[in-house]
């Protein structure tokens, strides 16, 4: 017996999977850029003796994004959600700009928006827009 979810779901799954495979090299470039920006932000936070909790949360975001065993869209989504929490929890520190911290966060958001745009993924785009609008 031939198993299928619906009469055309397999076609769209294959289409989407191939699309991800073809854009993955481009997404990886933007992902590496975000990772570099997070590292730069961590350096600034450590230098300015900002809270350990802040630094740990940001390190966790870095780990999620850097985990190559997880598919690129999934880790981008996880990162987006974690980074959102980070921004919500520490709005004052970031928003009160020390402009260096603020600028670094803006670069991360910019690169995340670009990543979402290139992915053409609905969920990732919605998350990126929410992140950008809430900041």
């Amino acid at each position: 017996m031939i198993e299928k979810k619906s009469s055309f779901a397999g076609f769209h799954d294959g289409y989407k999977a191939s699309n991800i495979a073809s854009i993955e090299p481009t997404l990886k470039i933007h992902l590496k850029e975000i990772l570099a920006q997070i590292t730069a932000l961590l350096d600034v936070l450590k230098r300015k003796n900002k809270s350990e909790e802040l630094i740990e949360l940001l390190k966790r975001s870095h780990e999620i994004l850097n985990n190559e065993s997880i598919q690129i869209l999934e880790r981008s989504l996880s990162f987006g959600e974690t980074f959102s929490i980070y921004l919500d929890m520490h709005k004052q520190i970031i928003g009160d700009s020390d402009s260096e911290i603020n600028q670094k966060v803006k670069k991360i958001i910019y690169n995340f928006l670009t990543l979402a745009e290139k992915s053409e993924d609905t969920n990732l785009s919605s998350l990126a827009i929410k992140l950008g609008e809430n900041f």
Binding site: I2, E3, K4, K5, S7, F8, A9, G10, F11, H12, D13, G14, Y15, K16, A17, S18, N19, S22, K106, K107, I109, Y110, L113, T114, A116, E117, T122, S125, S126, A128, I129, G132, E133, F135
Partner: protein, 241 residues
């Protein structure tokens, strides 16, 4: 009587080969019989069935109860020939290639030639038909809609086959080719599964939705959301640059 038996063996071998061709060319099952080289392929299998039958009879090869009757031997010869033709007694590594030593290396040459000739002939027939069907189809409008309609009508296309189709269409979409080439390519990809008749029906039913040069009367809600999302991202990127 013996001639009749050999004839039955030959026919059974042909039927086995025909079943193999059917599994390979699912989009044009009866079309196989319109192409000359397919008869060569069937004949090769038929003859090897006779050889297998002679072998079984001459050496009284024991296949259990089924081999005791003539009918059993005919069936065994017909199906065993498929195995015999593809058997080898050794596999020799030569550089990066593996060379099969046995009957399979000889019969494979004949089979590949017949197979390729069949594919070429079939491609000619199909290409003319598909070009005609797809001549007014806009690839960009049809790349998702047309396969979706076709697959909705078909009930027994496996998930794996659908995924392969989706991957092929997506790759075609990314290629920098002329739009007409892409439209024909899309038609070929779909017709391999559905056959040209269903493809033609689907193109006719979608009509102006996928027609070249025809602008849609309204943008769908989904497309509107997509455009809005893109615009928001662009706007936000300017804010964070």
């Amino acid at each position: 009587m013996e001639i009749l038996i050999y004839l039955l063996v030959f026919l059974f071998g042909c039927v086995s080969a025909f079943a193999e061709l059917l599994s390979r060319y699912t989009d044009s099952p009866l079309g196989i019989l319109k192409v000359g080289p397919s008869y060569i392929y069937l004949a090769i299998n038929g003859i090897s069935s006779i050889i297998a039958y002679c072998f079984i009879s001459a050496y009284q090869v024991n296949f259990g109860p089924i081999g005791d009757s003539e009918i059993g031997k005919i069936i065994l010869a017909g199906t065993a020939s498929m195995v015999l033709l593809r058997s080898s007694f050794a596999s020799i590594k030569y550089g990066k290639r593996n060379i099969e030593a046995g009957i399979s290396s000889i019969t494979q040459i004949f089979l590949n030639t017949a197979d390729r000739a069949f594919d070429r002939k079939r491609s000619e027939i199909n290409l003319n038909t598909i070009s005609e069907i797809m001549k007014n189809v806009d690839f960009k409008k049809a790349e998702k809609d047309l396969p979706t309609i076709c697959l909705t009508i078909m009930q027994n296309v496996s998930n794996e086959e659908q995924q392969r189709m989706g991957e092929e269409v997506q790759k075609l979409s990314k290629e920098e080719l002329d739009y007409k080439t892409k439209s024909i390519g899309l038609g070929v990809i779909i017709a391999r599964v559905t056959g040209p008749d269903l493809l033609n029906e689907a193109v006719t039913s979608l009509d102006k939705t996928i027609e070249l040069g025809h602008e849609p009367e309204e943008i769908t809600v989904e497309k509107r959301i997509l455009i809005s999302r893109k615009e928001k991202i662009e706007k936000l990127k300017k804010k964070f640059k």
